[in-house]
Amino acid sequence: MKQKEESMEKENRAFEPKIIAFLCNWCTYAGADLAGVSRIQYPSNIRIIRLMCSGALDPTYVIKSLLEGADGVLIGGCHPGDCHYISGNFKARRRVAVLKASLKEAGLEPERVWLRWISASEGAYFAETVEGMVLHLKQLGPNPLKSMWAI
């Protein structure tokens, strides 16, 4: 038993989660850019897709990412009140709430989806968020949907 746990832990340590990130053009994407130009180190597990607004993200793309084996999905938007389109991020928050409720009911793992507000000046916070998410996903282990073919 202990041996099994140890080998699992070893496997998990070796496991590098893949994160799909949907970032809004005005805040979080710029935040990621700032992290880059400031030479702040953060894990390379993230694949960024730029959107004009977090409110423009259809939940289907998050679901598709998870079903096809992404270990986590990060949705980044402007802080409440700062949305370039006034209220897109508030609407995104409602959609994410619906999405998480439906994932939970379907027996999938809503904790693989993170919604974070990161501004254009928060390069360090962006790096911190990615680090935290990678750590969290390593604890969770690989997405079981990765090997499920009959879905």
Binding site: I63, M148, A150
Partner: protein
Amino acid sequence: MASTANFIKGKNQRESIERFLHDLLKEKKVDAVLVPKRHPGGNIVSHVLITDPSKTEGIDPLAPVQMVNAACIVKELSKEPVDKKITVILRPCEVRATIELIKLKQLSDESLYIIGYDCPGVYNVKEYMSIIENVEDKEAFTQKHMEDFLSGDKESMREVCRFCTSFTADSADINIAWIGLGPSGIVIEARSEKGRQIANDLKVEEEGDLAARREKIETIATARKKRQKSGIENLLDLIQPCIRCYNCREVCPLCYCKECLLEPEKLGYSSERYLNRAAKKDQIKMPVDTLLYHLTKINHMGYSCVSCGLCEQACPMDIPLGTIYNVFSKKIQALFDYVPGKSRDDELPLTTFREEELSEVEDR
């Protein structure tokens, strides 16, 4: 809202409704009536748009069969405002779907008068057709069905109807009530200003007693609530037979998009991508993305789902979609304390927001 009640006492409830609609047309309160009517062959009951009062003879809104959710017909009928008054006779789930569509700006309700009625539930359409073929007296069959509804539902009824607790049309302009009101009469309840416009100066034969009715409704709803499922344990197994035929989308009154994100060309399938996807997981089920399809549909229309169960009736693979969508949409609606079709004033949950809310989804 206070309602006024007019009692009409005909031979039976069906005939009472017939008289009411006949008078509406004859006294030119409305120009047209959309109502289910039995076809000449005798088996099929489907919606008919009637302009001549004499043609209301043989209407049968209470027959326990629902071919489509009539909100879809109302949408087609009210694409643009017309200079005529149209009244539509709808089941409660159809009233709720119509109100959602009004809120979603999918139809023009200026010339529309929505009349709902106490619904005794329906059979699956195939089940109904096979039974009714061998029934001589169709009217007696409907009457018997209504009696059964009052004393406890038949097992052969559709599952969504058996757990439905919203079987009175409270949000219509007028509700035609008969539950708990004796064997033959109906009460015309005007529930909005529009409803009062057309119902008020109808001949009132006597005032109906609504107290017994409330009690009966409560009893039936309590019994049915026990049938409702609070969760789906094995969604993956349940939707395994899905062949992605899109039937459930076609019949859904709330799937109103003109262009659907779930169309194969929108999902970007190509031979090469199929092969890539198969290679990624070593193998992949064809047709692909059935779980993606259902989860996306739930995310898109779950907040407005009125649990009419038409998706389940249309499913060629007999997937219990009515129960599945009911469970999921209840969870989604609970997030925003939203009851679809209950009121025209409640904001649609995904087009509005509160600044302080849902902080739990910003964490993990």
